[in-house]
Amino acid sequence: MVRSIERLALLLLLGVGCAAPLAARDGIVVGSKNFEESRLLGEVFAQLIEARTGLTVERRLGLAGTQICFEALRTGAIDVYPEYTGTGLVSILGETSKGGRAAALGRVRSEFLKRFDLHWLAPLGFENSFEIAVPRELAERERLRSLTDLARIAPRLRGGFGQEFVGREDGLLGLEKTYDLHFRSLRSLQHAIKYQAAGAREIDALDVYTTDARLIEHRLVVLEDDRGFFPPYEAAALVRGATLARHPEVGSALGLLAGAFDEERMRALNLRLDQGESEAVVARDVLEALSLVAARPGAKAPSAAEGKVPERAGFFAYLLQERAALWQRTLEHLGLSGLALLLGVLVAVPFGLLLERHRRLAEPMIRLLGITQTVPSLALLAFILPWLGIGARPAIVALFIYSLFPIVRNTYSGVRDADPRAVEAALSVGMTEGQVLRQVRLPLALPIVLAGIRTAAVLTVGTATLAAFVGAGGLGEPIVTGLQLADNRRILSGALPAAALALAVDALLGALERALRPRGL
């Protein structure tokens, strides 16, 4: 029994080793952040490289945020991703913007090259800056044209800003100082939710992106940054120097995109994504329209229906249509959490037993492990990233870390509190300490140890949605994308199966717990 479990564990470990992204080293890995425009640009890069160089391209689209993308690029987990000059300047280099577009681009180019051997290719031609928008009727009533106008009446208004925007020097903090801008109340909201809140007039002002299609949909107007506070945010491909040296053709291919987009075009493309078209389809259309890839013979009007879900289709119709993808996501989800849990059990149970032998260490160690539970998953991933890059490995390691606490705690306390009379008697009739542990303490503690594993399993399955932040798939993928798109069907299509999975795992382990419970207890 024990031996076969060990063998299974070994097999699975070998599996992780192979599945890990040491595979695609001779291809190109394209990354992107987890919002539509970034995904689209990533997809455009990928298709262009495929068409122009014949290299195999692996897509790691939808990585969570600047830090994870940048770390992935710096450590070589990805080769290229779309970035904005302002973000590079402010968020990565930690500088403030001076001068205009050219100054910002020049600064990030020289610094990134010197410090990280990363290259900013020629900008794509559009800016996607932060801007502040207000509902059109409010702007008309109060005659708001600029941020200076806004500051005048802000004490009567409710602000609603993206989580990232609120805490940034190049976001709200700096804006408040520059314009002496103070709202009556402030809310920090998820990006897509902001628009709905503004549409429902629950907030009066919000941060938006220049190229955001929802400006049109939600009848918002952008206020002029009359003191030039926001740095320029020109989009460009950010590529590893090592990649360009190995495959100069990648640089030439991506160079073809220089100046190919403007704000108008980008807004239109974003609108198509908003309406449910897939980035693969939109990207192909763009590249064809730019004559950068050959038009497909006979494929006129590139099937707008492909990858597009009819707006009015019900949730179940949506599930049905997406079932293959969802099934795939579910398997990924189970694989990630199962592997993490297995590693957790293999490490945490022996560790719990070890602590029982060194009880003075136990309480502090367990408290320390308890702290891991309070670390938000994004923060944990950010710590792990520099070592493990992106993909399945950091996700599994993060989940593994989360699984340790309940198992260690239950193993330790279960074994420690095993019926003291039975333990005493076993020692007195001549069992060695080891025999007492294996034959008495562990079997008596088994129900408690299993309960710990069960807690960890539910926790792991529930948390495995974090895998989507680092491009490892799983049911978090539709949730994260859905949040970006404010698409409830998509969110539910990930959240409901994830919840069902957690319940099923709980029930299964509950049954296992009853089956394995030693008779006589």
Partner: protein
């Protein structure tokens, strides 16, 4: 032939300074039952635990069959001595048969011999048949559990049995019944036994000699009549008065 057990001038001081035993000496002859009586804290259980090295003496000597236990591996020593704790101390996740086979299994007996031996002993303690062998401790009454504990203690046929208040948790009727059987078993099997109890009447009924412990000192040890005729200490006398008055009250 050396005595089955002996202690010589044993002192036990715990790290917190408590003197649990303060210069105790006595012997147990082969085949003899000796009872140790005292209140809780008198040192009687500590004394018992010196024999199987669950405690180490601070000074003095403990001998089993003439051999100083300090030179015997504790685990091997414990397998040579039968042991019955107050509550039976059965392993709750093991069947009755498996519990009885504990020491033979630790000693590496083969399965067939273990099974036969377990059946034999369950027969001896009055729990014959497959009905009991396959049950779990929680499915038994207190008296039955204690019988199983006796069977376990005797399974590897040790010449010496250590009993730590084995009747303490039983109701009066069950206790009386087990007293009778215990006397029969020890007599029939010729075991030397040390019986720790707080009940002087029980000691007199079951043991050839009784030692009275108080504050870590052995006040007196001898047959019941000797203690009754010539109590060596006012405490022994008081204890006797209490036991005798209770005996007369019971008629």
């Amino acid at each position: 032939m050396p005595p089955a057990l002996s202690v010589r001038n044993v002192v036990k001081v715990y790290p917190d300074g408590t003197r649990a035993l303060d210069g105790v000496s006595f012997t147990v002859a082969a085949g003899e039952t000796v009872a140790l009586v005292g209140e809780s804290g008198s040192g009687k259980t500590t004394l018992l635990r010196l024999f199987n090295r669950r405690e180490e003496p601070t000074s003095g000597q403990v001998l089993v069959a003439g051999e100083d236990v300090a030179g015997i591996d504790p685990v091997a020593l414990r397998r040579r001595l039968g042991y019955v704790p107050q509550d039976g101390g059965l392993l709750p996740h093991w069947t009755v048969a498996k519990n009885v086979e504990t020491v033979p299994r630790l000693l590496g007996w083969e399965a067939k011999r273990r099974r036969e031996r377990a059946a034999e002993l369950l027969d001896l303690v009055g729990l014959a048949g497959p009905t009991f062998a396959g049950r779990y401790p929680k499915e038994l009454s207190g008296g039955q559990r204690q019988r199983v504990a006796f069977a376990r203690a005797l399974a590897a046929d040790p010449p010496i049995v250590l009993l730590d208040e084995p009747f303490g948790a039983l109701d009066a009727l069950t206790r009386r019944e087990l007293h009778l059987q215990f006397a029969a078993w020890t007599a029939a099997l010729g075991k030397a036994a040390v019986l720790v109890t707080h009940d002087l009447a029980e000691a007199f009924r079951l043991a050839a000699r009784t030692g009275v412990l108080r504050g870590g000192q052995l006040l007196q040890i001898g047959p019941a009549e000797e203690l009754e005729r010539r109590p060596a200490d006012p405490y022994v006398e008081a204890l006797l008065d209490l036991a005798l008055s209770r005996r007369s009250a019971h008629g």
